[in-house]
């Protein structure tokens, strides 16, 4: 029996859902010629799944047929599941109609590998091309580049897509070999590095010549599965840092491994390492936006992030000598390092203190989480009483805040 579009959607959205990247921001595709869509500025989450993830793009596989056998993937060849494939027209039609109803920001298209990498990539590109050229579509398009793609194919992909991604999948070559025998890191790094050069060249050209056509204006990203293999957070965060620095990636995504298969190549996890995944994102955030170096967030002596407290608090507790921070005098960068004070509050503080002393109440009203911040700040020469405590005690008090009501003895 032929599968209906709804049936295919069910299977191919389900198979694509483990790819966590959903961001649709960072592009500069204007609506020109009164066409459909606009992908400038911030991406929008149009809905949230029941697990709390952003739904921004129509994220599907073109097909779940695959010639490979990666242990962590539902679409692996050896898995006994129903196989279906969308036609090019079906994907185009869904994208346009979902977009017109304001359900989505655009399309995130990936696929199982049929025949070989380039054959698969060409199909994906055909869809993007049709959307752009025949439907005047200016919404967001993220195309997955299948490892091993040739430069000719990637060059075309970059013309039609906003963002491209080649997934690293497993954080070390050795582990990758074990659970995805057909893959290696070289087939990932080669296209990644090629894309990096192309993107850099394109930005350079568009500075010089106004009419330069865009090439992947949203840059490139990647994803790693966390918890399926034994790599430490120390290893993972250093890897991410090098991907940001060397490959100039826009984002690295971490996907807590969900035990979907009983493949003996994988650990028998009971549930996905969700807290660990969350801590990795927090650490990634500190690295990208808070001016932390990786070795300040994590070192080899404790190679995994503390699951009970966030990495910024962890840093502060390990470096109590740097605190308390004087909110009226310290540089912005230092205020940003105070647990409980985020970017917005830090900005309000430094703007306001130009007019006069900022007081405890002011900081509180400006949005600081005082239950944490109080241990690490001082107000012009007068540290708050809480600031003298020892790290273990602060840690304990923050994790187990005294519940007054429960202090009655009987």
């Amino acid at each position: 029996m032929k599968a209906s579009v709804t049936d295919k959607l069910k299977i191919l959205a389900d198979a694509a859902k483990y790819d966590v990247s959903c961001a649709s921001s960072g592009s500069k595709r204007n609506n020109k010629n009164k066409g459909l869509g606009n992908a400038t500025g911030m991406g929008i989450c149009h809905s949230y799944t029941e697990d709390g993830r952003c739904v921004s793009l129509l994220k599907i596989l073109l097909t779940n047929h695959c010639i490979y056998d990666c242990a962590y993937c539902v679409s692996r060849k050896s898995n006994d599941i129903k196989r279906v494939a969308f036609t090019v027209e079906e994907v185009v039609d869904l994208t346009i109609n979902f977009y017109r109803r304001n359900y989505i920001e655009g399309l995130f298209l990936s696929s199982g590998i049929f025949k070989n990498a380039d054959y698969t990539n060409e199909r994906l590109i055909r869809i993007a091309k049709k959307l752009r050229n025949e439907h005047n579509f200016n919404g967001y398009i993220h195309l997955k580049i299948i490892p091993g793609a040739s430069p000719e194919v990637m060059r075309e992909a970059g013309v039609y897509a906003d963002r491209l991604s080649v997934n690293l999948e497993i954080p070390s070559e050795r582990s990758l070999q074990k659970i995805a025998p057909e893959k290696d890191h070289k087939s990932v790094y080669t296209p990644m590095n090629w894309l990096k050069e192309q993107i850099a060249e394109n930005r350079e050209d568009s500075r010089k010549f106004r009419k330069t056509p865009m090439f992947a204006p949203g840059g490139q990203s990647t994803q790693m599965v966390v918890g399926a293999t034994p790599e430490t957070d120390h290893h993972i965060l250093n890897l991410s840092a090098s991907l940001y620095k060397e490959q100039l990636l826009k984002r690295v995504y971490y996907s807590g491994y969900i035990p979907i298969s009983e493949d003996e190549r994988l650990p028998a996890l009971k549930q996905a390492p969700l807290i660990r995944e969350n801590r990795l994102y927090q650490a990634d955030w500190l690295y990208r936006f808070y001016g932390f170096e990786v070795n300040e967030i994590i070192d080899e002596t404790q190679p995994n992030l503390d699951l009970e407290i966030d990495p910024k608090l962890g840093y502060a507790l390990r470096h109590l000598d740097q605190f308390p921070v004087d909110v009226n005098r310290a540089p912005y960068e230092m205020i940003l390092r105070v647990p409980g004070i985020g970017v917005k509050t830090a900005q309000l503080i430094v703007k306001s203190r130009k007019y006069g002393r900022v007081r405890y109440e002011d900081i509180k009203k400006m949005g600081a989480a005082m239950n944490r911040a109080k241990y690490f700040i001082e107000i012009s020469g007068r540290p708050l009483p809480a600031a003298s405590a020892v790290p273990e005690r602060i840690r304990h008090e923050i994790i187990y805040p005294a519940k007054k009501a429960q202090l009655t003895l009987f």
Partner: protein, 253 residues
């Protein structure tokens, strides 16, 4: 002294004018239709006057950046009970202070405006996210909404840029007006006797042929893209509060 006015932003600017001219110190500034008399109330009603309004706005533009002024305008649309007095106090601070004061968040009204604008922006963002168009038999992509604040004046441009090649309508069912785009320009419109369902949704009989089937596919997509093993309804509700569900096909099926 409680001051009553017609509830428009221009009206509030006239209030500012009269307060300065007549040296009145308001304890509350209230929209006429919202006022409920209380004992011992001292009340004064201010008429909106185009000339006075203009003089206040021109004066403010000399004392503050146009960005800061737009923030006041935006905050006004939050419809909070304290917003008029907060704006009044903000203006008083600006006028009485030498030099720029717009970022001294130690000052109550300045921080409050900043925070209200943040709430407004969040609601505007939610409309960008949660508007769901339905294609009607007359070829209009139409959506009904019920936002927390009066955000219609701030969302048109976003949708015009995005849906330049389709007719669309977004209607605030509670405030009973909306914006309509005719593929040339945006218009504010009020619909007499609209044909909504009891739920203030567009009647099924008005929907185009394939509309329901796309909604069904969207529902299918939404449920397939969730990961059951990671279900976290607390987080889900935080992102998509229940009051918005009514107009989201993926949540109201």
């Amino acid at each position: 002294m409680k001051i009553l006015y017609d509830g428009s932003f221009d009206g509030l600017m006239s209030v500012v004018f009269d307060c300065y001219e007549q040296k009145m110190v308001p304890t509350a500034i209230i929209k006429m239709h919202k006022y409920q008399p209380e004992m011992f109330d001292q009340v004064q009603t201010v008429e909106t006057n185009a000339e006075k309004t203009k003089r206040v706005i021109d004066g403010l533009h000399k004392k503050m950046t146009s960005n800061a002024f737009n923030q006041l305008f935006k905050a006004f649309h939050s419809e909070f009970d304290d917003i008029e007095l907060t704006i009044f106090n903000y203006i008083r601070l600006v006028i009485s202070t030498k030099g720029y004061i717009g970022t001294d968040y130690r000052q109550e009204p300045i921080l409050r405006i900043k925070q209200v604008v943040k709430m407004m922006n969040r609601e505007i963002h939610r409309m960008h996210a949660f508007v769901r168009f339905q294609l009607t038999v007359d070829g209009i992509y139409a959506a009904t909404v019920n936002p927390d604040f009066d955000v219609m004046p701030f969302i048109g441009e976003h949708f015009r840029k995005r849906y330049a090649d389709q007719l669309w309508l977004i209607y605030d069912v509670q405030r009973d007006y909306g914006i309509y785009y005719d593929m040339q320009k945006l218009q504010t419109i009020h619909i007499e006797n609209p044909e909504w369902t009891a739920n203030k949704k567009i009647k099924d009989s008005l929907l185009a042929d394939k509309e329901k089937s796309f909604q069904n596919m969207w529902q299918q997509y939404f449920s397939s893209t969730s990961i059951a093993e990671r279900k976290n309804m607390k987080l889900h509700l935080q992102h998509v509060p229940k009051r918005y569900w009514k107009y989201l096909p993926e949540k109201s099926a």
